[in-house]
């Protein structure tokens, strides 16, 4: 077995300094292997979103270690976490989260603004990534001129631009109808086939079943983990 890309070891997350505090994650142990496709399910209030924030390096753990690609990032500073988000994680959101005033091309470019590579050297890369999600003819369009499925594909292109070690999808089909949702999921399947590690959060069992492994979260603890 390959070394895990993600390793959560006894992770707790609570909000507030003093009792009574809101205890959201109560001891999570989770490994995701390199190239693995894992889905995390759970009802609202189960701690899904909090877990996603931790996995996405948007937040620190309160207790426990988070090893991303072998490095413990649980005590990283805001700037260090920003760097990790920029280089190692590709986000795919439920509501696409494209920047409305920018074109498709510019939206894909946004993560590059915060990285170390020069803009000029990555123009071709941007075009390639946009082509890989099938939107070459749309690169000068605004998000408002695109359908929901197209928007989500732009978001996927943006997530891929820095070649992250982990794709983190949060209800990627939540705002799409079944057919376009299937297209997007197929695209994620393809990416997984190409060897990318994917963690997807969803409440939809059908969507979760496409992954290799399902992790069910209930009340801040993992209650069921197994092959989908």
């Amino acid at each position: 077995m390959k070394a895990p890309i993600i390793s959560l070891q006894g992770v707790h997350k609570y909000y507030g300094e003093h009792e009574p505090r809101l205890h959201v994650l109560k001891g999570i142990d989770l490994d995701v292997a390199d190239g693995e496709y894992v889905s995390i399910t759970g009802t609202s209030g189960s701690g899904k979103s909090t877990l996603l924030n931790l996995l996405g390096c948007l937040d620190n753990t309160s207790k426990g270690a988070y090893l991303l690609n072998g490095t413990d990032v649980s005590s990283y500073s805001d700037d260090e976490l920003s760097k990790i988000r920029n280089e190692d994680i590709g986000f795919i959101f439920q509501s696409f989260n494209l920047i409305p005033q920018l074109t498709v091309f510019e939206n894909v470019q946004v993560p590059l603004l915060y990285g170390t590579r020069s803009i000029a050297s990555t123009t071709d890369l941007c075009h390639q990534v946009i082509e890989s999600v099938g939107l070459s003819d749309r690169s000068e369009h605004r998000p408002s001129q695109l359908s929901g499925g197209e928007c989500q594909r732009v978001a996927i292109a943006r997530a891929l631009i820095n070649d992250p070690v982990l794709l983190l999808a949060d209800e990627p089909t939540g705002n799409l109808d079944t057919d376009t949702g299937d297209e997007v999921l197929a695209l994620i399947d393809d990416l997984h086939q190409q060897g990318r590690s994917v963690v997807m959060i969803t409440h939809d069992p059908d969507v979760a079943n496409r992954s290799q492994r399902r992790v069910d979260l209930r009340d801040g603890i993992i209650v069921e983990a197994g092959a989908a």
């Binding site: 948007l58 920018l102 020069s118």
Partner: protein, 425 residues
């Protein structure tokens, strides 16, 4: 960060601004008018200063002018009506100045008298300036037709004169004026030259007591003294007033510019000794210039301070709109943070936008200011000079306004928690 990325940020910032044109224009407006008024005020100030330099420069900053002035008579009513009032600088004063004050290049005597000028049946009240040829050079009184007065005229006591073209019109002389005889107080003088049509401005006119431009007649100093003497008689309704002023003016040119003020002090004490009744005034153009420049500078500062208030208001306007924008764009900020933007990137983004707004606003403001100056000078005839430094100053001020007004909104934006910003709808 690589400059290219900043360029890209400016470009994306511009995209934001173009996306909401109305809001952008309204945001800029304050800076536009602020910069416009600063430019206009500075231009008017610079224009006034240039005018001042021209005006006083004409007097020559190395010169000192002594004018005779009629002293206040304590009880005029008890005096006889045909009293000869005698006052002012004397030949003796002039001699003493030349002999005792060091560092004087020239001390040119001037005698001024009101004379009636006849040409046939036409009559004009003229002011006769008995001057040395150097005087005309010193004040750049150049002729457009004919020649100027010369030393030879003075030596030979020639009865020649140089006049203003306005006088020719008033006297009805329309043919070639050179060699034309004029009857000046019963003496015949021949016109040898006509002066160029330019006159002394404001202060210079007062300092040289040159009153009306068309009535000036310049004659050789020695000739005038020989022909008319120093007394002059003016007849007014019923009474006759006679005055005897030996010299109305002495123009002193100091060799060394550094010595002007020292020489002026020496002249002052010499005259004070000779004339306890204070029937003279000492005009030091250099001193007047520095005083007037100081006043002008204070005035300019006040103008600019007032104009700056509108720049300040412009800055507050930008800050206000930007704060609203931060709230509106919370989601975008969250997305950018999720995609790896650090706090400083968010700060840079907002500062870039405010600076772009204010700099473009400043650029438009410069154009507005130039237009304003054109309109003002066209309708009021004021003198104005738009200097490169005022353009540079107001552009950098508007840039600074953009940065300062962006700091608070930018910090607010960067301080947002990425998770809640991302969830913000």
């Amino acid at each position: 960060m690589i400059p290219q990325k900043q360029l890209e940020m400016v470009r994306m910032g511009l995209r934001n601004l173009v996306g909401y044109p109305m809001r952008t224009v309204l945001t800029m407006l304050g800076v536009v008018f602020g910069v416009g008024s600063v430019i206009a005020m500075l231009a008017l100030g610079a224009g006034a200063e240039r005018e001042l330099l021209k005006e006083i420069g004409r007097l020559g900053i190395q010169n000192i002018i002594i004018n005779s002035i009629k002293p206040e008579e304590p009880d005029t009513s008890s005096q006889r009506s045909n009293w000869i009032s005698s006052y002012g600088i004397t030949f003796k004063d002039h001699r003493q100045i030349v002999d005792t004050i060091p560092g004087i290049e020239k001390a040119l005597p001037v005698h001024v008298s009101k004379k009636t000028v006849w040409q046939g049946s036409k009559r004009v009240e003229g002011t006769l300036y008995a001057v040395t040829p150097e005087h005309l050079d010193m004040f750049q009184l150049n002729t457009s037709v004919g020649r100027n007065l010369t030393h030879l005229d003075d030596e030979k006591l020639s009865r020649v004169c140089v006049v203003r073209s306005g006088m020719l019109t008033e006297l009805g002389i329309f043919q070639d004026p050179i060699g034309f005889p004029l009857n000046i107080d019963n003496e015949t003088f021949y016109i040898v030259g006509v002066l160029l049509d330019d006159s002394f401005l404001g202060y210079a006119r007062k300092a040289l007591s040159v009153d009306a431009k068309s009535s000036e007649i310049y004659v050789p100093y020695s000739t005038a003294l020989r022909r008319h003497g120093t007394r002059s008689i003016t007849r007014r309704s019923g009474s006759t007033e006679a005055t005897d002023v030996e010299l109305n003016q002495v123009v002193i040119s100091v060799t060394d510019l550094d010595q002007v003020l020292v020489t002026a002090r020496m002249l002052g004490s010499l005259l004070e000794r000779n004339h306890p009744e204070k029937d003279y005034e000492l005009v030091v153009p250099l001193e007047v210039l520095s005083q007037r420049q100081k006043t002008q500078q204070v005035f300019n500062m006040a103008l600019v301070a007032i104009a700056s208030i509108s720049l300040l208001v412009g800055g507050i306007g930008i800050a206000n709109i930007m704060l609203a924008t931060v709230t509106e764009r919370t989601k975008e900020i969250g997305v950018r943070r999720a995609l790896g933007a650090r706090r400083r990137h968010i700060i840079a983004q907002f500062l870039t936008e405010t600076t772009t707004i204010s700099t473009i606003g400043g650029g438009i403001g410069v154009l507005v200011g130039i237009g304003l100056v054109q309109v003002l000078t066209f309708f009021t005839g004021w003198s104005a000079a738009i200097t490169l430094s005022s353009v540079a100053l107001s552009l950098s001020i508007s840039m600074a306004v953009g940065i300062v007004s962006g700091i608070y909104p930018a910090r607010r934006a960067a301080g947002l928690d990425p998770i809640s910003a991302l969830r913000h709808e």
